[in-house]
Structure formats: C-alpha cells, structure tokens
Symmetry: C2
Subunit: 138 residues, 2 copies
C-alpha cells in the first residue's frame, strides 16, 4: 500500500519521519542521510534518499554500477562527473551515469540538500535490499 511521507515542519525543510543517519565519507561525519522512500516501504524498483552535506564538506568520491538521479533542493554544489566539474543549485537535476566517478561538494554557506534516486538494489542501508535484476544472486 502507498503512503504519504510529510516533511515534519514547514520551517525545517530537512527532516522526514524516517531514520536519520549520519552521512560519513572517509570515516568523517559529512552530513545526514534519510531514505525517505525505499525498499523498506515495499519499493523494489527505486529508492529516494535525501542527503544533506555540511558546508565545505563533500560526498565520497566514488563510482559504482548503479546510477544516480539527483534533484538539488537547496544550497550549492560543485559536482564532479567523470573528470569534469560543474556547478548546480536549487531546481537543477544531475544524472550520474553507471560506473562514473562522482563527488558532490557543498559550497555553502547553507548546507547542500538534495534528493538522490537510485535503483533499489543500489541502496545498501535499507534492511531489505532487493537483488539486482539479472544478477546471479537473484
């Protein structure tokens, strides 16, 4: 069954009533992560996570088989895609291709907040991660 997951307060655009995890990169706190909709709600196709990256901090610079669909809610980002840097701000979308090197740096002064969509098999922090379609493990 579907659901409505309301922002907890109009004055605080940062929280939804799901677990709030400290987002770490290089074992250092960099901000917050919430899986607002995902496998633990029954969604087996995709997950929608909200990340908040503290000003001056960056997400992990990494690559992996799943892609990312990003919508910037607030703040400003310097985005690494492959070997090129781009700027993005509120209202902008970013697509990170599979296996593409990427990093989101929060330029400040306010935190960088964005929705990041992944296929459900790409969300490691869910309790029930579905197998990747076509994978041997499935």
């Amino acid at each position: 069954m579907g659901l409505v997951r309301r922002q907890e307060s109009a004055a605080d655009r940062d929280r939804w009533p799901v677990e709030q995890k400290v987002y770490r990169a290089a074992n250092e706190p960099r901000g917050l992560k919430q899986i607002v909709l995902g496998p633990d709600d029954g969604a087996t196709n995709f997950a929608m996570r909200v990340f908040q990256i503290d000003p001056g901090k960056s997400s992990n610079e990494e690559e992996h088989p799943h892609d990312h669909g990003v919508y910037v809610m607030r703040g400003r980002a310097r985005v690494l895609l492959g070997t090129e840097y781009h700027e993005a701000g509120p209202g902008d979308f970013v697509w990170v291709a599979p296996d593409e090197r990427h990093c989101f740096e929060s330029l400040g002064p306010e935190p960088l907040q964005f929705i990041c969509v992944v296929p459900a098999w790409g969300e490691p922090d869910a309790r029930n991660v579905p197998p990747r379609p076509g994978s041997k493990a499935s």
Copy 2:
C-alpha cells in the same frame, strides 16, 4: 556520461531544457510533463519526470504495474491512494504502490508541480523504453 540539467530560470521554476509535453487526461489538457532525466539520457533504471497540473485539474485516475515516487515541489494536492484520500504539499513525498489506484488533484490556487519517479520501463513517452527486467519481451 552524466549530465547537469539546469532549471532554465530562477524566476520560472517550471521548465528544464527538454521537450515539454501537454499532459492530458480523458483527452483533455490538464497541465505539462517533462522527462527531465530518463531512458533517452541513457538511464535504464529509472526516470525522473516533472508534472505540472493546472489548478482544479487532476491526473488520470489509474493503476499500473509500476510504482511512483513523488516529491511535491509546489502547490497542494489531494491524493487518492487505493480508496483513501490524503493531502500533500511542498516538501512531502508520496509513494504509489504497484497496481494501486491513484490520482493527484491540484487544489490550487497555484499549479501543482511534482517530481514523479518511475522505473525506466514505466515511462511510455521516452523514445527508448527499456524492457521490464524478467519480462518475456526482454
């Protein structure tokens, strides 16, 4: 390769530089649809569409095998999920389960604008719709 798809103007929060289609329900114009990120960009796992529903109008009341992950950007919605109605506004997320009856009504006074995520095989308006994983057609 990934990409940044910037909102075209800070004053107009409704447009991105991709095709803008008239969104119809019951063969009547109800608003606008843009596939901001999707299969035609190379994304084979999911698509991110932005819908704008004119005040007083509704999306199609329907159900289908793919689920929807919705983020309300602006406006107010009366949302049918199964047999129950809910209200949602800016900052709220809605998950529509597979095969669940659903409808989004734009309560006004401004248009209802939302991001709607689907698995890529659930986006019929893309030129290159990938097959549903595990389907006989794939």
